[in-house]
Amino acid sequence: MNADPRGVLSGTHFLDGDHACCEGALAAGARFSAGYPITPSTEIVERFSSRIPTVGGTFIQMEDELAASIAIQGAVWGGAKAFTVTSGPGFSLMMEHIGYAVMTETPCVFIDVQRGGPSTGLPTLPAQSDMMQARWGSHGDYSLIALSPNSPQECFDLTITAFNLSERYRTPVMLMMDEVVGHMTEKVVIPEADKIEVEPRRHTKKSPAEFLPYEPAEDGVPEMVHAGEGFRFHVTGLTHDERGYPSMTPQTQDKLVRRLRSKIDGANRQIGLYEAEGLDDAEVVVVSYGITSRVAQRAIELARVRGIRVGKLRLITVWPFPEQLIRTLAKRVTAFVVPELNLGQVVLEIERSAGSHAHTISVPHAGGNVHRPEQILDAILEAAK
Amino acid sequence: MAKGTVLIEVERCKACGFCVEFCPTKVLALSTAFNSKGYHPPHVIAPEKCSGCDLCGMFCPDFAIFGHRDVPAASEINQ
């Protein structure tokens, strides 16, 4: 279905990533947000709190990130599309409710504008060091979706994608920004509402008598209902059966957890978004995501001037990880070069997927600013030797 | 004559004794019999005293007992 025009600020704008993100959420149909202030993400909800009263929705500032990350889920079960935003320290507090959203299959969006860590770290400076936390930070086995924009335009576009994927797969989706992308101001084109595709909630058409809250459809995703519709349904973070009732057996656990993983992992092909260039004859492939991909672009250009056949693979979807794609590439390239604003996180996945077929060279950075193109170039030259 | 009736679902009972203790007209006592879980459920010892007040039903933490007021027969209403 098309976007509700009330939330769409069609036109050409000059926006930073945080503000573009807010416009993406409004265009995607988000009508509820709960937040707790934290640099460098706060501008997203500041704009939302200013915009939403004239669009028709609610922003509430909660007492902490624990509250914000569960209030949005209450709102979702009340019928709204909802999201929250934060940065590292707040993201740590939200882990509890990322797990709850996974387990209860509550569609919602978490936006993490990454800054340097651990702990309070570098509040105003960038990092990409929450990538593994996004993947594994809540306890238990699960899969979820994480997207990584590298420009304000993409902050707008991918926020919509994040909402759409969360609705289609009934899963929390992480939008993994960073301080530079959040505060970078560029041209952002917002299309007309009828040009924006919005995924509706997978609301059941069954009657209360026929409906089972956790009975999966063919793609492993159950249909949903909201409170107040006469279904008298139950939702719990405990291991539950198709009725939604707690069931403390290894059989129920096995069936549920495997389904929660496979509905995401099995749809990797549909969820995966990548930007690829020059992969066909590449000897070296630079794999990057988010702000680092813009530095990598310069390094790739410098390497090509020197006659090295360098391919570019930008991960827009980071989780689920494109294991198959890397495995295929590994069989025909010499090496992968992986710059990240962390000391080596996503590179571990590339190493694992490439196996013994290709070298993997990490270009680590502890955060605080971005790489110099030369750092990445040196790694490419090393790889091409 | 009794104004009410008390109904007991023996299998749900865990023999806490709340209903026996707080019945205002002392209709109940714990039985010497066991239910399948090994608890002694209450039984009615003075049915004629039941007022149907349902205090037993409000106290019972196991949803195993309740009282209701008897509906007079149509013939009694006509009189």
Partner: protein, 304 residues
Amino acid sequence: MSVTTIAPPANPVERFLRTDRMPHIWCPGCGIGTTVNCFTRALIDAKIDLDHLAIVSGIGCSGRVAGYVRLDSFHTTHGRAIPFATGLKLANPKLQVVVYSGDGDLAAIGGNHLIHAARRNVDLKVICVNNLIYAMTGGQTAPTTPGQVVTSTNPYGTFDTSFNLPHLVEAAGAVYVARWTTYHVRQLSRAIAEIFQKPGFSFIEIISPCPTLYQRRNKMGDGLDTMKYYKEKSKVKNGAPTSEVGLDKQGEIIVGKFVDRARPDYRELMVNQMHESLGSRFIDPVAAECEEGEPQGCEEGLCS
């Protein structure tokens, strides 16, 4: 001659239960089931539309209530029932939202949410079953455990000061505050019925036995002994200053309705503020929904 078949009377609580989940997990002599009886009688007496009622629990023995009642029910994470309920209520103001949980859940791990929801005066009906201990995990000291009580983590007796919950929530801004025990079934049922007529943040504390982990460890008898203690030592003092209703190990229990006051709730404050600042540019989310063809909100006058 016509024959009328009269259905046998059913336990009034029955239609509110997920009977396929019975028997419940609560111990013999536990008071939580008693509170559920009072809650369901209140729903009947207050003529609550069950299709527009949702119940939210946290974690713990009392947190299991949501799973046993046949309503739209949410068993959330530990301590977070109130912020979940806040989101639910604000996204769908047509719902009556009840938070039903325990003292450890609401006042310890969820203590921050409790005071802030009371401060905001979110329209939530909070029912706090206070058994003075963490029961589900085996009887550890809770912030409500009175002094001198032996617990599994204070084997030589507790010594730190406990929370007086009515005083706490009154200070934080609740518009209705009452305390009853599981002995006071009629009063409790009436109090719950009453808060459904009361917009804003209402809080009812129910003192309830945990014979397995509190009374037994403290040689205070079983559930029935505890109920007799409540009967003997409770004193009804409606309007009592909440600063004077703190609990100790074996002393008097002051019960009654302590606070009943009016102030605008969160949504009313928000709508008024937005109207004042934005005038006709403000779009009430409920009104926005009506335009999309869901007229229920209008019937209840929420758009006006």
